[in-house]
């Protein structure tokens, strides 16, 4: 048994762990921003899927991965605006609006993918992002190959965590964002545009989800498949609860989740344990629920989460 663990916990394991964590970090940071502003963005699963599709298609036709990433983030931001129209301007149920956005985005992603690419025997592929070894740093033993020989988007996700924390806790905009999520009436009295702030948060939220989707089709895999997101978006919503709406803790949660997922992949590949592989696929979802049950009792969500704000109503 020791031998198996030795085989599993190698440098490749930790490098893979970071790659699996990257979309989770990006999307859960996105979700965190939306919820901090008072809007539960349940469109996440669909937004990630549609962005993964638009990012992939753009990269396929322009040959530029960076244009693809930009397209994916723009798609996400646009869907954030749609969430804003439904929940901020119209004040509709955030739960049902989010499900609606997810269903719409899923439909769009499938419809347009089929429209663009038809039904080819083998799915069209792109040359995906390759790893970018950072000079000198990547030569460090162990840490080098794990941390400093990664995809550009992995670096981006790792940098995004402190940046998100800085923006949230140390900038005037972050202060407005938190005020709008905790007490929109007071924020409004203080001259903060509640609706505008929520729209901005939702656009940022969507853009980050878009980047997460793009990572999956343009770095992790090099093609778009209908099941490319397969629940990762929903897991990110749980990660935000687990991370208690803090960027650092959300990222930590993403790493823990990625650890389980990576372990599951390795155990499956090693054939060391005679358990159906589906049990391993199921495991992250089971553990997410258990973690939520343990954390939720003490979790304190932004006070105005789920409540629309109308200036004229009291």
């Amino acid at each position: 048994m020791d031998e198996i663990w030795g085989q599993i916990f190698q440098i490749g394991f930790f490098a893979a762990l970071l790659r699996i964590a990257t979309p989770l970090i990006l999307a859960s940071l996105g979700e965190m921003f939306a919820e901090r502003a008072g809007v539960l963005n349940l469109g996440i699963e669909g937004i990630m899927l549609l962005s993964a599709m638009t990012g992939f298609s753009t990269a396929y036709f322009t040959g530029s991965l960076w244009l693809g990433l930009a397209a994916a983030m723009a798609t996400g931001a646009a869907m954030g605006v749609l969430m804003g129209v439904l929940t901020v301007t119209l004040g509709l149920s955030q739960h049902v609006s989010g499900i609606g956005v997810t269903m719409l985005c899923t439909g769009f992603a499938f419809f347009f993918y089929r429209l663009i690419f038809g039904q080819p025997g083998t799915p069209p592929a792109i040359t995906a992002f390759t790893t970018v070894p950072l000079p000198l740093l990547s030569d460090l033993p162990f840490i080098g190959p794990v941390l400093f020989d990664q995809f550009a988007l992995v670096y981006l996700a790792l940098v995004a965590v402190p940046v998100a924390a800085f923006v949230l806790y140390r900038t005037p905009w972050g202060l407005s964002l938190r005020a709008v999520g905790e007490n929109p009436r007071a924020a409004d009295s203080a001259g903060i545009g509640v609706a505008a702030t929520r729209y901005q948060a939702l656009m940022l939220s969507g853009a980050l989800m878009g980047a997460a989707g793009a990572f999956l089709t343009m770095a992790q895999f090099n093609a778009f498949t209908f099941g490319v997101i397969s629940g990762r978006g929903w897991v990110c919503i749980a990660l935000v609860v687990f991370g208690q709406w803090s960027p650092w803790k959300c990222a930590l949660g993403a790493l823990v989740f990625a650890l389980i997922d990576t372990l599951q992949l390795r155990l499956q590949a090693s054939n060391a344990i005679d358990v159906p592989y589906q049990v391993f696929l199921m495991l992250p979802f089971v553990l997410t629920i258990v973690a939520m049950a343990l954390v939720s009792r003490n979790a304190r969500a932004p006070a105005a989460l789920l409540t629309p704000f109308r200036k004229e109503e009291r």
């Binding site: 609006s97 997810t102 089929r114 919503i237």
Partner: protein
Amino acid sequence: MIRLRLEQRAATPVWFYAALPLAAVLATLVLCAGLIVLAGGNVFEAYGKLFLSPVASRFALVETAVKAAPLIFTGLAVAIAFRAKFWNIGGEGQLLVGAMAAAFIGGRTSLPDLSLIPLMILAGALAGAAWAMVPALLRTRFKVDEVVVSLLLNFIVFYAMMALLDGVWKDPLSGYPDSPDIRDEAGFPTLVARTRLHLGVALAFLAVPVVHIVMRHTTLGFAIRATGENTTAAAYAGFPVGRVTLATAALSGAMAGLAGVGEVGGLHYQVMAGISPGYGYTGIVIAMLAGLNPLGVLPAAFFFAVVITGAEAMSRATGIPVYLADVIQGTALITMLIALLFTRYRLRFRGAAHG
């Protein structure tokens, strides 16, 4: 400059509740017509195929009714839950456990022949109810958001089912990940000879008035509606809100479970990976379009049965991707949500100078 303003209504005209779903469907069709044009299709030809082919013949009509059966059940499941503001998004998983329970009773027991069908129905409903109790218990005991839990449970039950189908339940004859057929005696009788109109379809149609009566004329129904309208007031009035939530979840899950029973007992006679192409999620759109009214679920489910079955005929004839049906579902959910706004508000146009 003209400004649009939303003003609260004092009362909502009754005819609104019938007109709004129609308006939402109309708006959806207009919006999706843009996609048909984009795909190079003729809107009238495409919609003609989509909406006429599922009702054009007796055979097609029966097939549409068969397709509507699971949608009626999942629509009822969501309508019940959402009425109590219990956001059960787990209909898909509850359907799957119902299907598995039915397949177990019908294919893996040596129960007497005559008891098979009633026991399949009972077991499927109970399995669905039990599975829906998980998010309900987590919500009432641990204050965990039921939306995320019920969603995650869909994935858990799907992988559990695939593990079964790939392992112990694998059909030795086909070698595919699907279960062996249930016993002949467990297959639902057909209502009309030489058609697929099976007992499950009748049960679905029967469930509509039953759920309506439960919601309208029983204490439980009243408690469910009171809890949904104002939880604090309901608790103050002495309703055991926690227990009402559990009962709501059980009733909702039982309906979704029955959707799975019908598919196994009357249609596929086995469980396989694609047993539900997202019926649980379509149920959300159906329930919303029905205004969470059980009686409205019937026409709404039939509408989506037409859309889903008609999409393939449309795609074959025009080359427009069959996924137009998915876009229609998402758009209909959003337009209906917006339409519901007009039960509470009216639009006022006024000049900026006055406003």
